[in-house]
Each structure stands twice: as structure tokens, then as C-alpha cells.
Symmetry: C2
Subunit: 388 residues, 2 copies
């Protein structure tokens, strides 16, 4: 196949598989995002082998997740987001600490080396903002109080996860560089603060782009620049790109009608976001689970990952009442990109065995598959109660 | 720089440069597309060297041009397109034959090998649908009679150019395979016919996707599938992917309001299309023109390329009257992707010298830069006359 044909064929196949399995999931009342992940597992190298993931797939997945978070930021009401900031800043650290501790203790108890145990704990810290946001958006509860707390906490949690990542990657090199950790922490906090508060104010003061730009759809052009620009800035200070694009969306949320951003952003998101979830699915190798002991430990590790978030985040959100605390705990369960990054780093540094690497991917998939069901049940009950 | 940062940084830099120089061009009343090409020249490896084009840049440019043609197809009224099909099918072959002959004779006369001369002639055949469509769209004359003829002829012309490409690539391998040429011709004609006539009818008979699909924005999802699917199909039968996406847009043109395609497609197009033009600019090496004789011959070759299309296409469109024939001739001048593909192929096969390769890129850039000015003048005059 010629390179051009190959590129377009892969994009077509990934998108078609995502849409077909997404449609089937929707009919089974399962969030479409799971169909998209399943599509990736199916067509990926470990099942049918129709696609060998490479640079193209990684890049389109990256741009897809960046735009998904931009669109989610755009849908978020910043005022309400800040209103739940207090609860979220209690939910996130508790929900990070418990899985970290739980993962470490389980692995240490099953006689894995200390460094491997620390890596596993670190991998469990993150809540996947992308999957969480998509689930909440699919369920239509992103603007409910619990939904806003989950999203705000997931963003804070991502920062914590990346700080933990910085620590364990120092550990893998043999020494714990506290100065680097300190600088990175300061940068991350300064970045989020600046982008969230001043970005919004700067955008609010800007005159309508149509009055001073000749480019067609100037508002959308500026929005794309801000989205890409803040994503780059986020990676420069050592954070995930999606933190930047989410903050860009948040800064523009109050201008989305005036600047004509809603449907155009939705167009880009609906084209590109499915690729992220398909690529996520393509990375799952089902073969490792035939190794003795791997599947059993993977199941226990998943339980630790689930209970760690459920208890930790639930405790943090107890001030919202039991029902919403349960929802927040369940909403924080899914792991994603950062978990996979930590796992890959550990594997490459020789700290993690291939079996433990497989277990961490297992946790990502199971928590991603299970949480939407839990969330659906938890959110639907009250929605029905309200409807009645 | 980390790979993720590098990818997002390159996309940001390309998009920002495109928008800044596009804005400057708009203010100088030059189509923004030229600013985008200039942005590529500036930041590319032969000037500032801020970006080294690789797989990422080629892929994003490919998807960008595919979506640009899809959006253009969507804007085109298929009924009116078929109405001008007769004139266009006279314009295209004449506009292909003259530059082919002119290019060959010029190179043969200046004592270049026959095979090199044939390659140069073949490279001049194509009219760039992408650049032409963008120019017409920027000028707002895509629905005028001359605009529709140009677009229809450019599409036919692309088919001819690709047939010629098939012939010369056989020549480069030492033998002229007439059976292959025959099969390819039949496939191309069948593909365009099927997609243009039956695709439209099939879409017209389809019930609204919202009535039988649960996926969100089902119309847009189907449109993306058709766009990617026909692009892949086009490359399978040996044609440019953009022919497929253009035909997909054409098939959906009458459903664009019902299916909610307009703004969403515009969003994808406005994000991705600029990358194509930036990458086009990045490929220009200004260094080759310091070689003795290259610049002079490049200028004469450009003159041949311009006059070939102006006379050939103008003659073909003479039935529309002198003014519209001149517009059609001028609108068909810009060369683009296929010209560059032929040039690259010739270089790689050792048929073209680096100097002649540079000349062909020179033709692409100069015809792209000059045509919008010519077109602006030619279309503006009557628009003013009508306004008066």
C-alpha cells in the first residue's frame, strides 16, 4: 500500500470501527467511548492486527485528546467550576494518596521489589480527565454539582499525578532530586493559576475579533491558537498537554456564542477525539494474562485502584452528602494516559516486569469499562427520582 | 524537546505563522492562502529552519487538503456543476495538452534528454484543485459560471494529470505499459462516474440519520465516513485522495443543512487546511536558483506553463464569451500537488536533475502566487460592472 493510501485507510478504518462499535454500545445503553476503546482492541496489533500503531496513530490520538479537553473546557462554566474548587482540592489529594499507598503495599506484600511497588502505586494516582470528561458528557451530567467536582478534582489530580511521575522517574535514575520536584511543583501551580484566572480575564477584556481581524472566522482562529498555544506551554512546564487545552477552553467558555466556537469546535472534536480512544484500545495486549499469577494479581490490583479512589475521593467529598460523595468517588475511578506513561517508563527503565506492565494496562481498561456503568447507575437513580 | 511537545509546538508554530501571514495578506487584499504558503517558506528548512518537515507534517497536510476539498464539494451545487460539465470536458484536455507539449518542446530545445523533457511536460499538465478552489472560495466567486467551469475542469484535469503520471512513471521504469494505462483510465472514469451520479442518488434516498442512529450528530459522523472512505477508494484506483473527498462533499451538498454539516465541516477545514499550504511552502529550496541558468530557464518554463493553460483552457471555454474564457484560462494556471509528485518521482528515478526539479517547484510557487492576482482583477471588473 502506498503511504498516502495507508494513512487514509488507517484513519478510515479507525473512525469507522469507532463509530460502528460506538453505535452498538449506545444501543446497549453503554457510553460510546467504550465502543471506541473496544474498536481499538479489535483492529489493533494484538487481535485482528489490521493496524500497526505508529507515529501517525500517536499523533492523531494526541491532537484528538487535546481537542476533546478543549471542547470540555468550553462546555464548563468557569464560575461554577471555581465554586466547587474547595471540595475538589480536598477530593484530589485524598484520592491520590490512598491508591498510591494501596498499590505500594499490595506489591510489597506479594514480594515485588520496592522500586517496582512504588512505580505501581504511582501509576494508580491519576484519574483520566479525558475518559472522565467524556463519560460525564455522554451521560449529560457534566454541569451537575458532582460532575463539576469530579472534573475539577480530575484536573488537580492530573497535576498531582505528574508530580508523582517526576518523583518516580528521578527514583528510577537512582536518586531523588528534590530541587527538580520543587521547581516542577511551583511551575505547575503557577501555570494553572495564571491560565485559569488571568487567561479568562484577558479574554473577557478582548474586543470581538471580527472588529479588528480580516481573517475569516477570526474568533475560531484565535481559539485554535489559544488551544494549541496553552497545550504547548503546559508540556513545556512538564505537565500534560491536555491541562493546557482544557484551561484554554475554560478561558473561552463565556465567549463561545459571541465568537462562533460551539459547532466548529464540536466538528473538530467529533472528528479527532475517537482516535484517542481507539489508540488506547490498540495498546492492550491480551497475551500477558496467560502468564501464571498475572490475571489474579491484576484483579486484586484493580480492586485496590477502585477502592482507593472510591474511599479517598468519597471521603474528600463527604461534605456534599453521601449520594454525591459516592458519585464523586465512582467518577474518579478511571485511569488513563498518565497511568500508561508511568507503566511504559517503568518498563523501559527495567523497573517493571512485562507482567506487572500488563497488569497496569489491565487496570486502565477495567476501570474505564466499569466506571461508566457505575456512574450511569448512580446518576440515573436521582435523575429518575427528580423526574418522579 | 520531548516528542509530544515537538508535535504540538510544530502544529502551533505552523498554524500561528499561517494565520499571522494570512491576516497580513488579507489586509493587502491578497488571498490568505498565499500568506499561508509564505509562512511555510519562512519557517521551513530552507529559510529560518524552525521546522524540519517529516511524517507529521506530511500527514496533517494530507488530511488538511482532503478536508478542504470535502468542504469545497459541500459548497458546490451539483446540479450546476453538471450543467457546466460539457464546457469543462473541453477545457480540461486542451489545457492539459498545450502545457505538456510546450514543456516538452522547451526542454528538448534547450538540449535536455528526451525523458527529462517528457517529465517536465507531464508535470505541467495538472491544475491544482486545492489552490484553485481556495482562491475561488476566497474571492467568493465559486458559484459564478466561470468559477464552476474552472472547478469542474480542474477535477477532470486532475484525472488526466494522474493518467499522464501513470504513463511517465512507466516510462521511467523503461517501458510503456499500455495495458496498465488502459485499466487505470477505465477505473478512474468509472470511479468518478459512480461516485458523482450514484453517490448523490444514494444519499438523496437515505432517511435522515437521526431517525435510525443513536450516535450523537449522526449526520456528521456519516459525512466523515463518506469523506474518508471515498478518499481511500480514490487512492486505491490510483487517483488523488482529494478527488474522492471532493466527490463525497458533492454527494452530500444537498443534505448539508438537514444533516448539520456546514459549521462542523468548516471547523475541521479551518483547523486543518492551513497546514497543507504551510507544508507546500516549506518544500521550496531557494538555493537551487543560484545555479547558473536555472533561474532564467525557470522563468521561461513558467511562461510556458501560464500561456499553455491560458490559451488551451481559454480556447476550450470560448463558447462562454471572451471575458469568461479569459477567467477560465487564468483560473486554471496554478499548479500544485501532482506537479510536485511528478517532479519528486523524476528526481528519485534519476530522470530529473536537481536544477530542473527546482524549476518545477518554482513554477508551482509562481503560478500559485500570480494567479490570485490575475483572477482578482478579472473577476472584480465585472463584479463592479454588475454593481454599477
Amino acid at each position: 500500500m502506498e503511504p498516502t493510501t495507508r494513512v487514509l485507510f488507517d484513519l478510515f478504518l479507525m473512525f469507522a470501527a469507532a463509530k460502528v462499535l460506538g453505535e452498538i454500545c449506545e444501543r446497549l445503553r453503554i457510553p460510546a467511548v467504550l465502543g471506541e476503546v473496544l474498536a481499538g482492541v479489535l483492529i489493533g496489533p494484538y487481535a485482528l492486527g489490521w493496524i500497526q500503531p505508529g507515529e501517525l496513530h500517536a499523533n492523531v490520538a494526541l491532537v484528538g485528546i487535546v481537542f476533546l479537553l478543549f471542547a470540555i473546557g468550553l462546555e464548563t462554566n468557569p464560575r461554577e467550576m471555581f465554586r466547587v474548587g474547595g471540595v475538589a482540592s480536598l477530593v484530589a489529594p485524598l484520592g491520590a494518596a490512598l491508591p498510591l499507598l494501596g498499590g505500594f503495599l499490595l506489591m510489597a506484600w506479594t514480594r515485588h521489589p520496592s522500586l517496582e511497588a512504588i512505580f505501581v502505586g504511582a501509576a494508580l494516582v491519576e484519574t483520566s480527565v479525558g475518559i472522565t470528561a467524556r463519560m460525564l458528557s455522554d451521560l449529560g451530567v457534566i454541569s451537575e454539582r458532582a460532575g463539576r467536582v469530579i472534573l475539577a478534582a480530575a484536573v488537580i489530580d492530573d497535576v498531582i499525578a505528574l508530580l508523582v511521575l517526576a518523583v518516580v522517574s528521578s527514583l528510577a535514575k537512582g536518586s531523588l532530586d528534590w530541587i527538580r520536584v520543587g521547581i516542577l511543583s511551583a511551575e505547575a501551580i503557577a501555570f494553572v493559576g495564571l491560565a485559569a484566572f488571568f487567561g479568562r480575564k484577558a479574554v473577557a477584556r478582548l474586543r470581538g475579533p471580527a472588529t479588528w481581524m480580516r481573517t475569516r472566522n477570526p474568533g475560531f482562529a484565535l481559539a485554535l491558537l489559544l488551544c494549541l498555544g496553552l497545550s504547548v506551554a503546559a508540556t513545556y512546564v512538564g505537565m500534560a498537554a491536555i491541562i493546557g487545552s482544557f484551561l484554554a477552553g475554560l478561558a473561552l467558555a463565556e465567549k463561545k456564542e459571541e465568537w462562533g466556537l460551539e459547532e466548529r469546535t464540536e466538528g473538530v472534536k467529533e472528528f479527532l477525539a475517537p482516535f484517542f480512544f481507539v489508540v488506547l484500545g490498540m495498546k492492550l495486549d491480551l497475551g500477558v494474562f496467560t502468564q501464571p499469577g498475572v490475571l489474579g494479581l491484576a484483579l486484586v490490583l484493580t480492586l485496590v485502584a477502585v477502592l482507593g479512589k472510591l474511599l479517598g475521593c468519597g471521603l474528600g467529598a463527604l461534605s456534599l452528602g453521601f449520594k454525591d460523595a459516592l458519585r464523586v468517588g465512582a467518577g474518579m475511578i478511571p485511569r488513563g494516559e498518565v497511568c500508561m506513561i508511568v507503566a511504559l517508563l517503568g518498563l523501559q527503565a527495567g523497573v517493571l516486569s512485562p507482567g506487572v506492565y500488563g497488569m497496569l494496562l489491565f487496570v486502565v481498561v477495567v476501570t474505564t469499562v466499569a466506571s461508566p456503568f457505575a456512574l450511569m447507575g448512580l446518576f440515573r437513580k436521582t435523575n429518575r427520582a427528580i423526574a418522579v
